[in-house]
């Protein structure tokens, strides 16, 4: 199992694509391993992690436009929950970047 790569799709439910659709706090942006019902869109982001998945596992975001960040498996916040984190960016910049990405794939 060591160094085995697993590719996953993470989902963020969105009712729009503007920066205001993304909630950013000190733990990052909430995303899930499954699509979330009740939203106009489910933004999909692919990521890769190595070895077995446990709390704290880090996954690399595949999209070149999002490589400033990573996803951390954070099941303490809920079933299948991951947190997108962008350590060098402020909340406003994170929202803007994710919004640009959402517009590029959903519209």
């Amino acid at each position: 199992m060591e160094n085995q790569e697993t590719e996953i799709t993470l989902y963020r439910g969105l009712n729009g694509t503007n920066p205001s659709s993304f909630r950013v706090d000190e733990d990052g942006v909430s995303v899930f391993e499954f699509p979330i019902e009740g939203y106009k869109f489910n933004l999909q982001i692919r990521a890769i992690y190595k070895d077995e998945k446990t709390a704290g596992t880090i996954a690399e975001l595949i999209k070149p436009t999002l490589t400033k960040g990573f996803a951390e498996f954070t099941p303490q916040f809920g079933e299948g929950h991951w947190s997108f984190k962008f350590p060098d960016l402020g909340s406003f910049e994170i929202k803007e970047m994710l919004s640009r990405y959402a517009k590029s794939v959903l519209k």
Binding site: G13, S20, D25, S30, T74, K103, K107
Partner: protein
């Protein structure tokens, strides 16, 4: 499917060229953007620019053209904050009130609570602590309602805003009430973290009388 890329680029270029003011044509161009979200975002950017240039009437007029409650609140907030910083307190407070009304019509509870919290933070900065306390109380109430959502993501986002608002609200109501509010956070991990934060940074003085 709309392609407003050229219009958006033209507006961004117009604002980046640091004109003394925004031409009416630039506002018209923003209004001609077919996609409502993109249109609102460009109108928000123009409003912010006009507020920086202290062109208050046109800034307010542009803000009123924004359809989405979140972006319109953001725009009004920007104008009010800039007005207050330049000494126009009475007018600023009137716009803060308008922004508050708009905030309460945003789509999700967590967005409403987030906007109310943003407004409250700006009100603290200008010394309007009584009004700030009122908005924080509303932010806490709306976020509490939001975390009852059956939608996992919405509920979690509401808990996230609630935790932040409680930490700020602690300065107004004291640590004891803040602890009681923190215990209502639905998500276990966020609740525990907030209780630790409150324990590490106790607040004894009230900001608002």
């Amino acid at each position: 499917m709309y392609d407003d890329t050229a219009k958006i680029e033209q507006i961004e270029k117009a604002l980046q060229s640091e004109p003394k003011n925004v031409k009416t044509e630039t506002i018209s161009l923003a209004l001609s953007i077919a996609d409502a979200e993109d249109r609102d975002l460009q109108l928000l950017k123009i409003t912010e620019f006009l507020a920086i240039k202290k062109d208050w009437n046109r800034a307010l007029g542009t803000a009123q053209l924004i359809e989405s409650s979140y972006e319109r609140t953001d725009a009004l907030h920007h104008v009010a904050a800039k007005l207050a910083l330049t000494g126009h307190l009475e007018r600023a407070l009137w716009i803060f009130n308008e922004a508050e009304k708009q905030a309460l019509t945003a789509y999700s509870n967590w967005q409403q609570a987030e906007l109310l919290q943003k407004l409250a933070k700006s009100l603290v900065e200008i010394g309007a602590t009584f009004k700030a306390g009122e908005l924080l109380e509303k932010s806490v109430f709306v976020a509490e309602q939001g975390q009852e959502s059956l939608n996992l993501q919405d509920s979690l986002d509401a808990s996230s805003v609630l935790a932040e608002s409680i930490l700020i609200f602690a300065s107004f109501v004291g640590t004891k009430r803040a602890f009681a509010l923190a215990k209502t956070i639905r998500n276990d991990a966020i609740r525990e973290k907030t209780l630790v934060n409150l324990a590490e940074h106790p607040v004894s003085e009230k900001l608002a009388a």
